[in-house]
């Protein structure tokens, strides 16, 4: 099921804004739709390459539910933007946009949309094997080595919840990590049927990551 997000901008005819919106079409399972109404919108894309009108900030301050704001512009001309706004220095690259969406945008947006989540969508990592696509923000969970170990293992291969619990992280923290990762699209989940037939990921990772044995020894050394 695709998730629908709404975007508002101060300059619909801006080529930079159009390019930003185009980048979002590469996000699978998401539909991004323009809206004329800034209030209640998920994302504002503000073109500030020429000037940043104070009206935009005033409008933002009036919003009862603050949207996520992406500002496209030069660092020199946007030094005073509100701290919660995200500046994208030109030229904006697609990976940078995706990174921001994955690390920041979804957490705040999906919290608002959480009322619409179906029960079957909650905690799918409890029923299936899963793998991390990239590092979550592990500073959020403290500087325990077991957290790094767990995430490291989950970056290298698919595992189930019970196996992940054996690496020393409490069920509560593991659940929190996986929930955050899931909500920020950093968690890849596969069905049990897939796990029987799909050996591609394992072989690819074993081949590409020469540090796996080193990490395992390091973990054992400091266990």
């Amino acid at each position: 099921m695709n998730t629908i997000y709404s975007i508002w901008t101060n300059k619909y005819d801006s080529s930079r804004v159009k390019a930003f919106k185009s980048a979002l079409t590469f996000r699978t399972n998401e539909v991004w739709q323009w809206t004329d109404e800034p209030d209640g919108c998920d994302l504002w894309v503000v073109d500030a390459t020429q000037t940043l009108s104070p009206e935009i900030e005033r409008l933002y301050q009036e919003m009862s539910h603050k949207p996520n704001v992406a500002v496209i512009g030069l660092r020199s001309k946007t030094a005073n933007i509100p701290s919660k706004w995200q500046l994208f220095a030109t030229p904006v690259s697609v990976p940078v946009i995706f990174r921001w969406l994955d690390s920041n945008f979804y957490q705040s947006t999906r919290r608002l949309k959480s009322k619409n989540i179906r029960p079957s969508d909650i905690e799918p990592w409890k029923q299936h094997e899963f793998k991390l696509i990239s590092w979550p923000n592990i500073s959020r969970y403290g500087s325990k080595v077991s957290i790094a170990v767990t995430c490291s293992n989950l970056l290298n291969a698919y595992h189930d919840f019970e196996t992940a619990l054996k690496w020393g992280v409490s069920a509560e923290i593991l659940n929190e990590i996986l929930k955050d990762a899931y909500q920020t699209s950093l968690l890849k989940i596969r069905s049990n049927d897939d796990s029987k037939h799909d050996q591609i990921d394992h072989s690819h990772n074993n081949k590409s990551d020469k540090n796996v044995s080193l990490i395992q020894k390091l973990m054992s050394r400091f266990r």
Binding site: R99, S103, W135, V145, C151, S152, D209, L218, S220, R221
Partner: protein, 189 residues
Amino acid sequence: MKVVIGQKIQHQLVFIGSFGVGKTTAVQSLSDTEVVSMEATANLELKQAEGIDPKKTTTTIGFDYGECFLDETDKISLYGIPGQVRFENVWDTLLPRCSGVVLWVFGNRPNYLQECERWLKVLKRKNAIKKLAVALTRIEHDDEESLNACRQLVAEYHPFAPVLTADPRDRNSVLQATIMALSTPYPEN
């Protein structure tokens, strides 16, 4: 005493970053041996740099070296390498063949992003960007704004490199950054 000279070096881990950020301390946190340091008295300009412990009077001029023994036959060689550009030959020697790099950055400096980017450019130029973790020091764990700004910058050089808060004095913290650097995936073409 463990014999250092003549042993086979199997893995190398490099700690890199600006003067005073904690590279030597990080090596000491993980090393099983006494750390061999090549330090000299820092000049006045370095001593007065922002965020530096006023008690710090020395700077690394060669590199710091320590060893972490994994088992009876295997070990990691730990290097803290100097931050000044004039020691680029040391970077050339160690960076291209290392197993992982932890880039230490002052998180409390207003120009921390520029500082970080300077190092990212060096690591990319030296072909040492693949196994990277960026550790921000001297900031709170929940300083999402600083972390996210840094993540956005780092993603321009490495799409999956982790950015975390860390304390070089804390062994667990250094170990966490190390494991993250070693296990960071890098997209193959």
